[in-house]
Subunit: 205 residues, 2 copies
């Protein structure tokens, strides 16, 4: 498998999951500064012009929640999701769906406002709201969702690398992680895992 | 099972899926005009203050992509997803993830701009961009995603009620469905299904 990623993006979640799964894979880093994600070559791989994308022997997959489940199902011995329990599996999926459709979207209004407005003053207004909207998301995660030590409790799952990835962005979004002790502890716990260290070392190297 | 919904929301996708699955279920309609989704009673069910929510005998589920898979897995005889093929399943999930994190989000900037900015002029600027951003999403669906006659080809899946639900919003978003013949045909094909008629009749009744 081949993972297309860019540094500092949500592709880190799939990168960590591939490591946790013990998968054989290679990576390709795209440079967003030079808009490589908009090149004809990459648009042939992912017409959305975004990362991540995962090339498999069956075809190309996109969208983090879908890729994370695919990795978990392809490497069942790694036990990265409760694959035999539809309700527990749905809880995992609901958490990851919240991350992609609400938390990531709130964050994206800091750097990607041009997706949703053209007026420069409106784009600035979006940026100003990010600490509040992202903060509210993490408040809900802290109070209602994160069970500890891992997201769904005692079992490490595909929720954990995804939460870790989005929690990396807190300081950049001017949200103080000290407000969220459980999220901060989770981030520290994740940072000590070999898979996380390896993925981060490669992405930042 | 009990489905909490509001008229004109993405909860319709799960409502249709429950019908297609032959599930025994009841529904509770929330009135967004009186902010019932923000009542203490409902926040105890879904702390996010949004629909849909699905009460099951194991607990409460939220987030459309997670609920749709849960319905498909709970009623396997209805064959609403390729449950035995991780790659095909990931394609289904990727489509639904795109709907929730990109298409629904683009649409939400017309009515829910206060989530992402406080300035009234910014909220107006967001509204102005919706025809373009939603139109671009459906252009990608039309050109690259919707295989026909159903989203992933010959098999009807949980992608279909979800696409149908979001395609209901095109006119309200000032996007002309005539630009997207495959999406329009899909919408017409969906409208003829008994499950869709029943769910719509109840929600609009």
């Amino acid at each position: 498998m081949k993972l297309y990623y860019a540094t500092g993006t949500c592709a880190l979640a799939s990168h960590i999951a591939l490591e946790e799964a013990g998968a054989e894979y290679s990576t390709v880093r795209l440079n967003f500064a030079t808009h490589e994600q908009r090149s004809a070559e990459y648009l042939a791989i992912n017409p959305k012009g975004r990362v991540p994308a995962l090339v498999t022997d069956r075809g190309i997959l996109t969208e983090t929640p879908a890729m994370l489940v695919f990795i978990a199902q392809s490497f069942p011995k790694a036990k990265l999701a409760p694959l035999d329990d539809p309700f527990r599996f749905a809880e995992v999926q609901a958490f990851n769906s919240y991350l992609c459709s609400t938390v990531h979207v709130a964050h994206a209004h800091r750097m990607r406002g041009t997706r949703w407005a053209d007026d420069p003053a409106a784009i600035e207004a979006m940026k100003r709201k990010v600490p509040e909207s992202v903060g509210a998301c993490f408040e809900l995660i802290e109070q209602k969702m994160l069970q500890g030590p891992w997201v769904i409790g005692e079992s490490y799952t595909i929720c954990d690398p995804y939460l870790f990835t989005l929690a990396q962005w807190l300081e950049g979004d001017s949200v103080d992680p000290a407000r969220f002790p459980k999220v901060r502890d989770h981030r520290n716990r994740m940072s000590e895992r070999a898979a996380v260290r390896k993925a981060l070392a490669e992405e930042l190297g």
